[in-house]
């Protein structure tokens, strides 16, 4: 166990390989964008029913996970928990990388990505997307500021203020991300105030999970390990967040089931909707909630080598599955324009539709992950990151702050 662990050298096996993979995935994503731009969105599986497809599922997942990853780094500076202080730089970097990837995919999936300057100069402030221009740019600036206070000894004393600012801003940002959906009164899956806080809780869970995975991978490549008590603390936190997320999902569905006008939609999402119930129960519930909780809390499972790392990976997969159900499933179910009536039309009114993403969409979606990976790896190489810090008393009693 070491006090201070630097990022492993570039010659460490896997580093160049990983960067190459990330660059390749990103390049394929860009190629897909050029293809989509040239031919129009007709080359995608999206249509006038499935308006937001796989790229946005992945992008929103990254946005939520990224803003949550920042939180892990703020527990130390803002709340004074010494044990978490060394996590701040990596957490900040992950937040930036994930958000950059997510925002880029959203911008490249636009019908007119050449009009991003228009989006930056024309802002409708009744629109959450309009606020997002301010919120995302501000987030990047604030996190960079926060990282500066963390990594520069001269700026260290501003760390708590910067951290507090980052915390408040990220809460507003993630509330906004949830409200993108929650404010839509037209859609049966959304139209609810619970969506915004639910996204906040998702961000806690997925942010902690992604941080855990990345930190563990880096430590392993450096040949170091975390103190088992700290690892257990992180695992506990992850478990609490998974339970909290499940609670919100439970309340969301229970309330919907209670309303007669929502019953058909719930039946579709939970039972008869084909891929959606499979992803919800198999992906989010089984893989993303039950199995991680078993791995984190049940002694028989805890004994498995790297059980908390596996739990984190499963949480992320479950989260992605849930985002797919939440975003695409909501569009598969027809809008209720004539409540109570059977409806038929040339525009798929009243009919449940099936979404099949095309190759271009899949490449674009993964391209976002590729971008985040490349940003993370290059920043770790270029900036003075330390995985664990001389300034944090890790060798001392980690159970007492």
């Amino acid at each position: 166990m070491t006090h201070s662990v630097a990022i492993p050298p570039a010659s460490a096996k896997g580093f160049y390989f990983l960067t190459a993979i990330g660059a390749l995935v990103s390049a394929l994503g860009f190629a897909a964008v050029i293809y989509m731009e040239h031919h129009g969105h007709q080359v995608t599986g999206m249509n006038n029913q499935f308006v937001w497809g796989l790229p946005l599922v992945f992008a929103f997942f990254q946005l939520v996970a990224g803003s949550g990853a920042l939180n892990v780094g703020l527990i130390g500076p803002v709340f004074g928990k010494q044990v978490y202080k060394p996590f701040a730089p990596l957490a900040g970097l992950l937040a930036l990388a994930l958000l950059a990837g997510g925002v880029l995919v959203i911008l490249l999936d636009l019908g007119r990505p050449d009009r991003v300057p228009v989006a930056l100069t024309h802002m409708n402030l009744t629109s959450v997307f309009g606020w997002d221009v301010i919120l995302f740019n501000g987030f990047f600036a604030i996190v960079i500021l926060f990282l500066w206070t963390q990594m520069s000894p001269a700026m260290r004393r501003y760390s708590q203020t910067a951290g507090l600012l980052a915390l408040v801003w990220r809460f507003i940002l993630t509330t906004g991300t949830g409200s993108i959906f929650g404010f839509l009164v037209a859609r049966q899956a959304y139209q609810s105030a619970i969506v915004a806080p639910m996204f906040i809780i998702f961000s806690f869970a997925w942010g902690m999970a992604v941080f855990l995975v990345v930190q563990r991978a880096l430590l392993r490549s450096a040949g170091a390990t975390l103190h088992p008590d700290i690892a257990r603390r992180m695992g506990n936190l992850l478990g609490i967040f998974i339970v909290a997320a499940f609670y919100f999902v439970l309340v969301y569905h229970l309330t919907n089931l209670y309303y007669a006008r929502q019953t058909a939609f719930e039946e579709f999402i939970l039972v008869s909707g084909g891929v959606f119930p499979k992803l919800f129960w198999g992906g989010y519930i089984a893989l993303g909630t039950v199995l991680p909780l078993l791995l984190l809390y049940v002694p028989a499972f805890q004994r498995i080598q790297g059980s908390d790392l596996i739990a984190a990976v499963l949480t992320l997969l479950g989260g992605l599955a849930l985002m797919y159900v939440f975003i695409v499933g909501a569009q598969a179910f027809p809008l209720e324009i004539f409540p109570g009536m059977q409806v038929k039309s040339s525009f798929l009114d009243g009919q449940i539709d099936h979404y099949v993403p095309s190759t271009a969409e899949v490449l674009l979606s993964f391209g976002g992950f590729g971008i985040s990976l490349v940003i993370t790896l290059i920043a770790l190489r270029v900036l003075p990151f330390k995985l664990l810090d001389d300034n944090a008393p890790l060798a001392a009693d980690p159970l007492h702050d």
């Binding site: 249509n47 006038n48 029913q49 019908g111 009009r115 802002m123 009164v185 809008l335 009536m341 525009f347």
Partner: protein, 251 residues
């Protein structure tokens, strides 16, 4: 040398100065805004005053008169607005107006009616548009300003009536009076290019059963305002309280 006040005012000099000043001003105006000068000279007509909130355009659709197999309104709309492209996946094609067939599952009663953009007074699409491209004109017509539409499709997620379509391919056969293009969102405009000339929307004119009525809701003497005042009409999803410009009968 004579004192200044001895001399009578020189009217010739004054008129010269006046003329020179006027010419100078005229030249100055011409120099400052030569384009403006020329435009005034060459204009064949003067621009209209534009849309005004004194009017609110609306539509009344009597679905009792609407024939089930008929889609004359749809064909007329496609013809008028240049919606002629065919796509491999028909779900990607633009439909500004569509015929919807309804059946009451309890009673078995069937009827059909056209559904189009409802031109809400409180449009959800306008609220959510990040750039303000989705807009409501002063006279109530809801439009997409395709000069600033970035194609994010958020308005399509927000619309309760699935009124909006996204253009999935490159277009070349647009009607010059109805610009539309790849990557932007679009919807029924109440044929605003016709309405501004005093004409009726294409669908209204084409309906063989005269089921559709278009007019100024704020004009108490218009046929539509009188009928709405005297007969029962409904708005789609009236629970959402969006104050629609389109009303139906017979639902």
């Amino acid at each position: 040398m004579s004192a200044p006040h001895d001399k009578a005012p020189d009217s010739g000099r004054r008129s010269f100065i006046g003329a020179a000043a006027a010419t100078g001003a005229g030249l100055g105006v011409a120099a400052l805004a030569p384009g403006l000068q020329l435009i005034e000279v060459s204009a064949a007509g003067t621009p209209s005053t534009g849309a005004s909130s004194d009017k609110r355009w609306g539509m009344l659709i009597d679905s009792n008169k609407c024939a089930s197999g008929c889609d004359a309104c749809v064909k007329a709309c496609n013809r008028e607005n240049g919606i002629t492209e065919t796509l491999q996946d028909v779900r990607q094609s633009s439909q500004w107006i569509r015929k919807v067939d309804l059946k009451d599952p309890k009673s078995g009663r069937e009827h059909s009616l056209p559904v189009l953009c409802q031109h809400c007074a409180k449009p959800t699409c306008v609220d959510v548009c990040p750039t303000g491209a989705s807009m409501k004109r002063a006279d109530g017509i809801v439009l997409v300003d395709r000069h600033i539409c970035i194609g994010c499709r958020y308005c399509m997620m927000a619309c309760p009536y699935k009124a909006r379509s996204f253009v999935h391919l490159t277009l070349t056969e647009q009607n010059p009076e109805v610009p539309r293009g790849q990557g932007c969102v679009e919807a029924c405009t109440f044929c605003v290019h016709r309405v501004d000339k005093g004409q009726q929307p294409a669908c209204v004119e084409a309906c063989p059963e005269r089921a559709m009525l278009f007019g100024d809701l704020k004009d108490p003497h218009s046929e539509i305002a009188q009928r709405i005042a005297q007969e029962a009409t409904t708005q789609l999803r009236s629970d959402l309280k969006l104050d629609l410009g389109v009303r139906y009968q017979g639902i």
